[in-house]
């Protein structure tokens, strides 16, 4: 029982369980979904979302939100693709794209942390601005016919695994280590958990919030370059609505929208789930007018069962503690533990954006 409880306390593991169930469930109906080729398709498709989710995790942990990532992705893809098609060397183009991402992230960060514009407004406004600028930059045209070498890099494999996917995994692991081991890595969650408290203990909150948005911009711009490489042409609607998918991926992986809770491994698994759903719909071989409702139903089922599972175990743990306390005379230890747990439980079931 304890083991099961421990397992379910790790949100990443529930997320992984959902992913496995999704594959098994669809695989049961159509075994082709489980073959190497289909899985590769999902892994390749998920790279973009993994990068977006990594960046988004930083921001969500601080209690903010970044809905401008779709725009950043689009403009980074357009700029890098235009340069590469024009003959600029790929590394230079990547650096320029990343600089754009950093700049957008910096503006978001300054707006949120220093000017104190609510995160969703700042990034929503920024999204509108970037989209417009992107149309001005591309003149509404597509960037087409990128060099084959640049395109085929996205198909390269290392030990039968797509190389971009490996890159995404390595980034995820590094960031995970940063969050769990480095001192500054823990600041992000601390800020999201309790802003005033974290300032009192000496965390440079403003600086860290700016950094979170800058990293989100950075990740989005990397995703933009990957988009250009994977897709091979950049349409002017690149990245539209992608921010919602990235946010959903993070939440599926256990990141709380009210800040302070979550891990980047979870977000990456969430990104895989979001991508797998897209492919799964085709393998299910249902008439395609069902696609959207199935997608929605799956998403709702996953988040609802996730919430219910965690509620169940929290409730159980609380009851156990209560009965233990009744028997135990030494209250003081229990009390402190209880209040701590109760704090966590309200957080994960908490609904709205009060937690600024």
């Amino acid at each position: 029982m304890l083991i099961i409880k421990k397992i379910f306390e790790k949100r990443e593991i529930t997320a992984l369980a959902f992913l496995v169930i999704l594959f098994l469930g669809v695989g049961l109906r159509n075994p082709d979904f489980m073959n190497a080729q289909s899985i590769t398709t999902v892994l390749k498709g998920s790279v973009l979302y993994i990068f977006l989710a990594i960046g988004m995790t930083f921001v969500l942990l601080t209690g903010g939100i970044d809905v401008s990532v779709g725009g950043t992705l689009g403009i980074a893809a357009a700029v890098s693709a235009t340069m590469i098609r024009g003959g600029t060397s790929v590394p230079v183009a990547i650096v320029v794209a990343i600089l754009i991402g950093l700049l957008i992230g910096l503006m978001n960060g300054v707006g949120v942390a220093i000017v104190k514009v609510p995160a969703i407004i700042m990034t929503l406004g920024m999204l509108g601005i970037i989209r417009g600028v992107m149309i001005v930059y591309t003149d509404g045209k597509w960037v087409e016919n990128l060099p084959d070498a640049f395109k085929m890099a996205s198909q390269a494999n290392f030990a039968h695994v797509n190389i971009y996917f490996i890159l995404a995994i390595i980034t995820t692991i590094l960031v995970q280590f940063y969050f769990s081991k480095a001192r500054t890595g823990k600041y992000f969650a601390a800020i999201g958990d309790n802003l005033e408290g974290s300032i009192l203990v000496g965390i440079p909150a403003k600086k860290m919030i700016v950094i979170a948005y800058v990293l989100s911009g950075l990740c989005a711009s990397i995703a933009g370059v990957i988009f250009a490489s994977q897709v091979g042409f950049v349409t002017s609607n690149t990245g539209v609505d992608i921010e919602m998918v990235a946010i959903a991926a993070c939440v599926l992986g256990g990141v709380s929208l009210s800040g302070g809770v979550g891990s980047v491994v979870g977000s990456s698994i969430g990104a895989l789930i979001m991508t797998a759903i897209n492919s799964a719909l085709i393998f299910l071989k249902v008439p395609s007018f069902w696609n959207k409702s199935i997608q929605g139903t799956l998403l709702i089922l996953i988040v609802v069962s996730d919430v219910l599972i965690h509620k169940y175990f929290e409730e159980k743990a609380r009851k156990q503690r209560l009965s233990a306390r009744a028997q135990c005379l030494d209250k003081s230890v229990e009390d402190s533990k209880d209040s701590k747990d109760a704090h966590i439980s309200t957080e994960s079931t908490f609904v709205g954006g009060n937690g600024q």
Binding site: Q37, K44, E144, Q230, T238, F283, K285, N291
Partner: protein
Amino acid sequence: MKRKYLSSVAIMLLVLVVMVGCGKAPAATPAAEPAATPAATPATTPESTVTTVDPADVSVVFIPKLTGNMFFESANAGAQAIAKEVGFECKYDGTTNATVADQVQVINSAVNQGYNAIAVSSNSPDGLNEALKSAADSGIKVVTWDSDVNPEYRSIMVSQGTPDQLGKMLVDMVADQIDDAKNAEIKFAFFYSSPTVTDQNSWVEAAKTYVAAEFPKWTLVTTEYGESDAQKSIQVGESILNTYADIDAIICPDSTALPGMAQAAKNLGKSAEDVIITGFATPSSMRDFIKDGTLKQFGLWDCEVQGAMGAYIAYWLAAGNDFVVGDKIDIPTVGEVEIMPNSVLNYEYLADDSGIVLMPERTIFDINNIDDFNF
């Protein structure tokens, strides 16, 4: 405190002024001009001839289904070119979303701005009717191109062909690549943008009917949608190939789905020998795929010419010209076109002042001619 608020308003206004200032730059003509023209043009009676109207006094707004799509951008290039050639004002205006409500808003604002004519590619066969009717009521000439509305609500439609013609073309591009297509038992799929988009669905419906009549042994295994999202199109494309490993042909009448599908096939190492991919897209987006043998042929009509025709006919009507079905219009750089009755698109509504101009022809692109086209 009060002063602070006034200053806040001042800052907002400052921003507004700056934006409007920026806004004026891309539009070739200042706002004052369209404001001045309506006074002149509604007064232009039908009898008046072209010579009395200075082309510079005529303003046309050219509305795509959505902006940022290569097809419509190319059409706009054609429209702008002919506007420059003839000397009338042509504003390109649309939103990034292919929705009826957004398009109606654009049309209403064109009416308010006092444009003389509208050339629109409609997002819906009946959703624009009301907006176009009130436009016509205020003396604005309405022309449609690419995608039509009910014929009562427009003067002339510049058509790339009937759904039947285009559906047949899609199927024939597949049949051409199969030996003994009549008796071949093949599996095929449709892959385009969404179930709600009008024209692509109408072609696909026509294609299905044509297949049922001509190629009864073909089986349609699936219809999938890419939502005009390039990355999703590739993922869906790969999944189609993985799910239906024995599929023979995929028809993609959408300018995002076709390059996406081709890239997907390429990623999985499939060429035109393994699976037939065809559809509609601009040649520039498909050039590389034709050259490396991912697909053999695909089609489109010359959208630049279509854009030019749409914009010119709108101008021609707004300049005070009248027509009855059967007349001919001489379009600079394009040539003479005849106004056909609505019945060529199977409409029941027939009237002397409502007709259709058919595009000269549609093109099938392959390795031999792909370099001849630059749009």
